[in-house]
Symmetry: C2
Subunit: 345 residues, 2 copies
């Protein structure tokens, strides 16, 4: 159907290599010849077949990105950051959504390899240690960089924020508001990101002379539902906390709805601080205090690191790039009104 280089050459009475040369802007083609070919190329609106080109060139100029939840606007922002950076350098970005599912992630990793993407950006989904260790093998030597989350001790490049410090800041913010019983709702701690956040939280408590209470540490799975369930459970405890740091913005929504159901007012009765800035962060009730991660920058930076790795012949050892974060204080965190006791059903 679509005109190929061959038929074009035949039509023009020139060789395929000449046509190819003008398509690829090689300099030795005579101006007249170039004009004639270009003219015709435009006429038939020639579109190169990337399959053939990539097969021959042995590069696709595509990079794949896998995120655990594309419905989470943190990851769409990250994706746009990476896309813009790559587009400006002649690469296309293919994004895939693992939905926090190991199988899906594995399939995408495999697909990307089969599609011959030149490199892979991965926000690993939570998984078992054994699964996580399989990742480097799955990409079969292709350049890979972990973004936002990373395995504990990884043999590949990583780009993320200082999650420990971020969580420390969040927790300290709550302590400064007078809270002593502070909970944390975290992701499964199979990944460094979650482990660091937990660590920062514990560190902040200790630094303030508060004992870490294991009953105040809740593990969710990054869904609204799990956070909702955690909220229910939390409020049924004998001594519920008066504040919580929630490590994922989707979980924040689920947690807030549990509080609302139990008629626990935020921030009068309970303070909440979330991770990641969203479209709706300032629109929900009450406007949410959050730890803001530079999502777009994270995407762009990881793309840069990946491109560097791709162009690196001398096996430079894996790098770790740490980005900044900041605390955006809104209305969801406040000094407790009736210190110490909150109404639970």
């Amino acid at each position: 159907m679509a005109a190929g280089i061959r038929s074009i050459a035949r039509h023009l009475g020139v060789s395929v290599s000449t046509v190819s040369a003008v398509i690829n802007g090689h300099s030795y083609v005579s101006p007249e010849m170039r004009a004639r070919v270009e003219q015709y190329l435009r006429e038939v609106d020639y579109q190169p077949n990337y399959l053939a080109r990539s097969l021959r060139r042995r590069e696709t100029r595509m990079v794949g990105l896998i995120v655990p939840d594309l419905a989470n606007s943190f990851y769409t922002a990250l994706s746009r950051g990476a896309e813009d950076f790559l587009l400006a350098r002649g690469y296309r970005l293919i994004v895939a959504d693992s939905r926090e599912d190991w199988k899906r992630q594995k399939d995408y990793l495999e697909s990307f390899c089969r599609m011959m993407t030149d490199g892979i950006l991965l926000v690993p989904s939570s998984a078992t240690k054994a699964q996580i260790d399989r990742i480097p093998g799955l990409v079969r030597g292709r350049p890979l960089v972990y973004v936002d989350r990373s395995p504990i001790k990884s043999p590949v490049d990583v780009v993320l924020i200082d999650n420990s410090a971020a969580s420390f800041a969040a927790t300290r913010h709550l302590v400064e508001r007078g809270h002593r019983r502070i909970g944390i709702i975290t992701e499964p701690i199979s990944l460094l990101c979650a482990a660091d956040r937990l660590e920062g939280y514990q560190h902040a408590l200790k630094a303030s002379g508060i004992d870490v209470d294991q009953d105040l540490i809740y593990i969710g799975n990054n869904t609204k539902e799990s956070a909702h369930e955690i909220g229910q459970r939390m409020l049924s405890q004998k001594m519920p906390p008066t504040a919580a740091v929630v490590c994922n913005n989707i979980m924040t929504l689920g947690f807030l709805s549990a509080l609302r159901e139990r008629k626990v007012d935020v921030p009068e009765d309970f303070s909440v601080i979330g991770f990641d800035e969203c479209d709706w962060s300032e629109h929900i009730h009450p406007p949410l205090t959050t730890i803001r991660q530079p999502a777009a920058e994270m995407g762009a930076t990881s793309a840069r690191v990946l491109l560097e790795r791709m162009g690196d012949k001398k096996e430079t050892p894996p790098s770790t790039t740490v980005l900044g974060f900041d605390l955006k204080v809104r209305s969801s965190t406040a000094v407790l009104a009736n210190c110490g006791s909150i109404s639970t059903a």
Copy 2:
């Protein structure tokens, strides 16, 4: 690097076609041979090169989807619906984000063609009529279906809801709450979707004996910012409306923030009804009354229509598939407290 079919054949002392036959599950290979080959395939963890396979087979089993705003969860839901449907049928989905930008959309359309996707799902970005008319040409005969939005009178398959009826229902809901001055914040009316919504709105007003006031029709560009600016302008009018239907969920957020700035309380002073259900719809203040579109179903249905079109040799005329919607009433729409006058700065 990666083992190819050729080196595998050589290693096994068999021909490439035999290896190819077992890879593709052709039945005429003897059980022993099959076992031996499969065994080795597993051993080296053979991954077929999709570029080569697709080039040869002249099909990629990939379909491309372009949405205007991936940060809008309506479109991520749509995308997941399409992805699940396609995956189950052996197709992969590539999603791209045009960011409501014609140039980006055009580039992706072109990219998809060059990548030889077998079909394309398109939620067209708003654009000029001339641009929209170019779309069928850009895909160069590739199967295409418009999703959610479509050009007025399109020569290709379309899947959407009855936007006119949806907007009618939204407007009527407001009328039933006693509102007479009702505004509509819509997308650029270059596409049928927006035109229909405007039409449904006007129809509902007329059906209730209310004159359509051109000053109550606002055209935004699907960004928070544009809706915020519209909100400002609206509240500065001599006779502002007391309610509005907002045709896009991102614009709803921007519009609400304008109301908040002007200290106009929702729903006491002003009622708002939005389009599309989001994670945060029930979490914002106040919980939002919305028209719910079946996003995932829309994705799946459009994928089905596309596959049918792809497998259709006899040029069946373009179809239009209309999906249902419903009205989810929450707290953002109410009877006006102080009928008729609202406080504007």
